[in-house]
Amino acid sequence: MIVERPRDLLIKKILAHGFLLIFLALILFPFLVVVSISFREGNFAVGSFWPENPTLEHWYLAFGLDYTRADGTVVAPPYPVLRWMWNSIKIGLIASFGILVIATISAYAFSRIKIRGKAELLDGLFLIQMFPTTLALVALYAIFDALGEVVPMLGLDRHTSLIMIYLSMITLHVWTIKGYFDSIDTALDKAAEIDGATPWQTFRYVFLPLAVPIMAVVFVLAFIFVINDYPVASVLIRSQDQMTLAVGSRLYLNEFRYLWGDFAAAAILSGLPITVVFLVAQRFLVRGLSDGAVKG
């Protein structure tokens, strides 16, 4: 054990806590300000940190309710935030479920079934996935623009189109789940085989029940990814009613219509649930991130 003198240790402790507290003050400053702004009057008003005349106007508007000011004027909500939230959650849930199904089945095959050229395929998938969707935006726009002429369900401005694109973003999840399957004893599938189970049955009745915890992690990961996506959604979705939160929120801070106060309330309302989900899931998530990325 390395012995340190108590006085030095105390100074070090004070320094460490002092540094962390100052750093935290800087880092958390935006959150505190946003909370304060959401209770402030008006959208431009410059006020003190504790709002002098706290008002719930922005919160009423964020929840989609009309607000009657003290002087009798009625303010209508500028944007359908709850609808955007619903859109985001709907797309997020459907897409994550699809991703989970495809990724789990593929991961099982990559881990257990003998397929010719499997290793090369896995490497190929990995390399393809490293190309960001940014590179494909123009084509995605052109494809769905054209498809929409023939099949309206798969046109621009449709959630189905968006979900189909998100369904392709599976590779990272395949790796994560495959890593998990790889750690399962092979005696288990041997036993199932001896009992006469087909690979599908082995998957369905042996591996799937075992994979529930990792599937939960992947589901949360995929959900957060989909909710957070801006580029793809902003290219495909144009009309206000169809927007997701990520696309719609941008409208609040338009140069010509700057709704800082309304934005603050809407941001807290929509950001809080996602943040809580993330904080609950983060322990598993970090493990998934580093394991999934490094496993060869």
Partner: protein, 527 residues
């Protein structure tokens, strides 16, 4: 993990379940074959349909998909491949194909001027008409007893059309002289029906066709262009012959005047010549490229340094309240990025953002965060480091635990300072496993479209450029602006720049791949 999951009792339980299910499976292939055949047929029909609608590429993809499904799920040989087929197909169709297709578009003139196929462009031109003003006359709608069935009343000539459902009237409606109807539909109702009226054709007793010519009137409409043959149109107003030019994708007059809309044609290396050839394009592109690399590299380096420092402090054995610090420190990572970025956009606002208010109060300065290029870049970096350090911190905490404690102790006993210990023991041990993640992070930020679009939209604009290009634009956001924002949907040019980004990303990806293989090899070498 494996040990925990495969306790003998759990094994036994699962085995029992499996054999129970095994008994009620009857090996019969018929239902599967029928389903596969049906699905393949539906897809084949879709492929044919798309092909007909002049979307041959999509038709071919659907055809390939149908074949794939039929072969993989139909033949028993490919049993194993069934499991990975959906995933691989999704990746190929929605990631690989669009990337390739975007680059292909870089060799075409696809833009808002050349948006359509040739057939569609011809159709648009042929449907254009000139209103013959001498025949223009107001109209009113007359409702009938049946819901949705109307008659058109032309008060100037005293003619009333036969009743019809407006939207379904494919044949011209005959007009007959009639008495003045007692009641007509309100103007507002008529405006609501304007879409149905647009395609309506009326036939006068003299055999002249009248069409809707605006919200209030009908008139006879003369087509502006008449097709002579597949490649030529005649302009009815002056008899000029327009010839289709397959090189430019426009109908052109003899002296080269182009008639919009045009259609999409291949232009070879034209877009690349535009990029390389004009100073107004090359200059900004080079500066954008340099900034992209600085931005991505700077972010990764600073976020890594801060994350590592925080991780080291948090790992210190004498520190209390670790759990609280940790949760608070990763908050920026937990809040959805699109919200944080917009919050910063508001906070940095030059006139009434809180950051400038504080700076004004403390130092009497109000920096131009959005109009000065250097400050805007500084702001982008600050925001991105704020967003990115928690990820680095979390990773660093994991990797630091893997550094053997006795190495550090031995060095300390030898009299090395803690700084020295860090740089010669700790850092060299965590860099190799960290490297692939750093490279991945670099690649991510190289294309961090969301940050730029939500924070600055690339601005402030660089003066004197051919196409709007901004001081904080990275290659990806510049391409996005070319294609989807203020520059007229220049998809072709955007595709060409995408090829440049593609090349760079390919190099980065390969480097990442190699680094990862090395890290994996190291891990398996040192158990």
């Amino acid at each position: 993990m494996g040990g925990m999951l495969c306790r003998p009792d759990a094994n036994g339980l699962i085995m029992a379940q499996v054999s129970e299910h095994m008994n009620d499976v009857r090996p019969s292939d018929w239902p599967r074959v029928l389903v596969v055949a049906g699905l393949a047929l539906i897809l084949l029909y879709g492929a044919f349909y798309l092909y007909q609608f002049a979307q041959p590429i999509y038709g071919f993809i659907l055809l390939a998909l149908a074949t794939g499904i039929a072969v993989i799920f139909g033949a028993n040989r490919f049993y194993g491949a069934r499991f990975i087929f959906p995933g691989v197909a999704a990746v190929l169709i929605f990631i690989a194909f669009p990337v390739v297709y975007t680059i292909y578009l870089g060799f075409t003139n696809y833009s808002s001027f050349n948006l359509l196929t040739k057939d569609r462009a011809t159709e648009v031109l042929l449907s254009r008409g000139t209103v013959d003003e001498t025949t223009e006359q107001p109209f009113l709608l007359v409702a009938t007893d049946q819901q949705g069935v109307y008659q058109v009343w032309l008060p100037d000539s005293g003619l009333l059309s036969e009743p019809a459902r407006l939207a379904d009237a494919d044949e011209p409606l005959a007009l007959r002289p009639s008495a003045i109807p007692s009641e007509t539909v309100s103007r507002r109702e008529a405006v609501r029906l304007r879409n149905a009226l647009r395609d309506l054709v009326l036939l006068t007793p003299e055999g002249r066709e009248l069409q809707n010519a605006g919200l209030r009137s009908f008139a006879s409409v003369v087509p502006s262009y008449v097709q002579i043959d597949i490649d030529r149109l005649e302009r009815t107003s002056d008899g000029t012959v327009l010839t289709a030019n397959p090189d430019t994708g426009f109908y052109e007059t003899a002296d080269g005047q182009q008639i919009s809309p045009g259609w999409r044609v291949g232009v070879g290396l034209e877009n690349f010549r535009t990029i390389a050839g004009s100073e107004g394009m090359r200059g900004p592109l080079v500066s954008i490229f340099i900034w992209t690399v600085l931005f991505a590299g700077g972010t990764v380096f600073i976020a890594f340094a801060i994350g590592l420092l925080l991780a080291i402090i948090l790992q210190w054995e004498h520190l209390r309240f670790k759990a609280i610090y940790r949760i608070l420190l990763i908050l920026p990572y937990a809040v959805p990025a699109f919200i944080s970025i917009l919050v910063f956009r508001g906070l940095f606002n030059q006139n009434f953002g809180e950051i400038n208010l504080i700076l004004q109060a403390l130092f009497g300065i109000r920096p131009d965060w959005f109009t000065d290029t250097t400050l805007a870049r500084l702001m982008v970096l600050i925001v991105n480091v704020w967003l990115g350090y928690p990820y680095m911190m979390l990773l660093a905490m994991g990797f630091l635990q893997a550094v053997p404690e006795d190495h550090k102790k031995a060095a300390t006993l030898e009299g090395a300072s803690s700084v020295r210990v860090f740089f010669s023991i700790t850092l060299p041990q965590i860099i190799p496993p960290f490297l692939p993640l750093l490279i991945a992070s670099f690649a991510f930020n190289f294309n961090n479209l969301m940050l730029i679009l939500l924070l600055t939209r690339g601005g402030p604009d660089i003066p004197g450029t051919l196409i709007p290009a901004g001081g904080t634009d990275i290659l990806a956001s510049f391409t996005y602006r070319l294609a989807f924002m203020d520059s007229g949907q220049q998809f072709g040019l955007a595709g060409a720049i995408t090829l440049i980004i593609f090349t760079i990303v390919a190099v980065i990806s390969y480097a990442n791949f190699v680094a990862m293989r090395r890290a994996a090899a190291r891990r398996s070498a040192a158990p």
